[in-house]
């Protein structure tokens, strides 16, 4: 089932185009990473999905209903930019505001605070919270009422490595409960660690989108080692199914168009080259991202 459907979304601020003709779908149960460098239009897109930024053109539907209906029913929730709270209220009081808006009983606040490990400081004013505590409180607020779809805008932004790990673990925990999660980030490592699907945005345009596994397996690079690296390199270069052959250190790397490493091994043995190592090197998301964003820059 499509949880989110975005069609031809465009946002212009005068002459400047923040998002252009963006179409994308998020299916139920996916952990969807919305990846892009700073200023690529991620927050503007999420703002339009939340209905707080009006699109110049295009449509957004959540659970096949309007954004307004989905938000009012509490089926979707989340944060945009940094966590937004009343600084003079305590963490608990801020959640009380959220619970009232969502029409929930205030008894649900304590378990939500417990889930993000904020029970202790919940009685303190939010203006005294660290950014990590605010991010966790934002997650607690978003989780109130068990929404089916969570949208989080750079939830680990500004956190130290420990804080990032905590938030990542919380997101993983949430995804295990079957919730659909869409979160924006410019951290590739984060997406690779927790996302099932990814979309790459650059200068307001969607560059690529799909399953993370499909991205990273699109071009499999093999690493080969033998006694004579030079001889190996020469032989692999002459192999008809090998592409992008390069030598680095005592290894040779090559992409195989037929994806049959056994054939390559037999071919090399026929030439008297016996391999010490033949392993596949998955292309990292970073490489995919850099390639996608470089393509976008080249087109400009």
């Amino acid at each position: 089932m499509n949880v989110l459907e975005v069609q031809g979304l465009t946002k212009r601020y005068g002459e400047k185009t923040a998002v252009e003709d963006l179409s994308l779908t998020v299916q139920q149960g996916e952990v969807f990473g919305f990846l892009g460098p700073n200023g690529s239009g991620k927050t503007t897109t999420l703002g339009m999905i939340f209905g707080v930024i009006s699109p110049t053109r295009g449509t957004v539907s959540l659970f096949r209903e309007s954004v307004r209906e989905a938000l009012a029913r509490g089926r979707v929730c989340g944060t945009l930019e940094q966590p937004n709270f009343y600084p003079y209220m305590t963490g608990r009081e801020n959640l009380r505001v959220v619970a009232t808006i969502k029409g929930l009983r205030k008894e649900l606040i304590a378990p939500a605070l417990e889930a993000v490990d904020l029970r202790e400081p919940a009685g303190r004013e939010v203006k005294g919270y660290s950014l990590g505590m605010k991010q966790r409180l934002a997650l607690a607020a978003a989780m109130l009422g068990d929404p089916e779809f969570l949208i989080l805008d750079e939830p680990t932004n500004g956190l130290d490595p420990e804080g990032m790990r905590e938030i990542r673990e919380l997101i993983v925990q949430l995804s295990r409960t079957g919730r659909t999660i869409l979160f924006s980030t410019h951290l590739l490592d984060e997406v690779e660690k927790i996302c099932t699907h990814v979309a790459i945005l650059k200068r307001g345009r969607l560059q690529r989108s799909g399953a993370v596994a499909q991205f990273t397996c699109a071009a499999v690079t093999f690493r080969l080692r033998a006694e004579d690296t030079h001889q190996l390199f020469e032989a692999v270069t002459q192999y008809e199914c090998a592409r992008n052959v390069r030598a680095a250190g005592d290894a040779v790397y090559a992409e195989l168009t037929d994806d049959r490493p056994a054939h390559l091994s037999r071919y090399l043995a026929g030439r008297g080259i016996y391999l010490k190592e033949l392993s596949n090197q998955r292309q990292s998301l970073e490489e995919v991202f850099l390639a996608a964003t470089a393509e976008a820059t080249a087109e400009m």
Binding site: V52, A72, C77, F85
Partner: protein, 262 residues
Amino acid sequence: MRIYKALWLEWFKLRKRLATWGVYIGFLTLTMFVLGVPFYSARHRGAYWGFPEAWEDILTLGAPIASIFGAVLVALTVSSEFEWRTCRQNVIDGLSKDEWFLGKLLSVPGICVALYGTQIILGAVLAFLDTHPAHKAAVSYPLSTYVMTGAGALLGMSCYSLMALLISIGVRSAGPAIGLTLIYQVFDYIAARTLRGFELDGIAALLPFQVNIALLEFKQYLPQPSRALDYHWSTPNLLLAGIIWAAAFAATARWLYLRRDL
């Protein structure tokens, strides 16, 4: 239910904020001073400041203060929501933009009633303490005169507070919103003076703050209104002008709020 939810949220946000109580204590101090002056000067002269004569002072003497503090409080509560982006977050959490605006709109008369009510209670207590024992009558004019004064004063205060709401939604920042709300009085005064210089007294009397001042004047509601006050427009016409300005400010604020991204 939606109105109840919006109102409850506004009340919760207001009462939890220290700045609200700071403004309220400031207002209370100034009101005590303003109402204390006739009280103590009467005592100093060996006279009384009590019922029924004190009603005039109770209902209108401190009303301009309530009007200014009400507008400041509205500007503070509305513009801060944009600074903290909680206005946007409330909508993401499930409140519709119209519900959010309704909460702010309804808090305007709420704030005005709270401040004006405080002033009336405070004045009434002082007057009660000082009423001459020989006085038997609680009122000197028909009761409707006092009711009209109260309603008119509240309308005048709400009108100015709704202007503060409009300015706050326009500038989205507490400092400039409060500053512009207060500076508007000077602008209105200069504009009125200029218009009067061109013998356009009737138009000058209809400027928002001129209407506000006129509606906060007790003599405006007397069975025989003093001609010296405003000889261009009758009290019903001024009330109508107040309602029109209030509606115009509220409608423009809503239009502006719904039109812009959060």
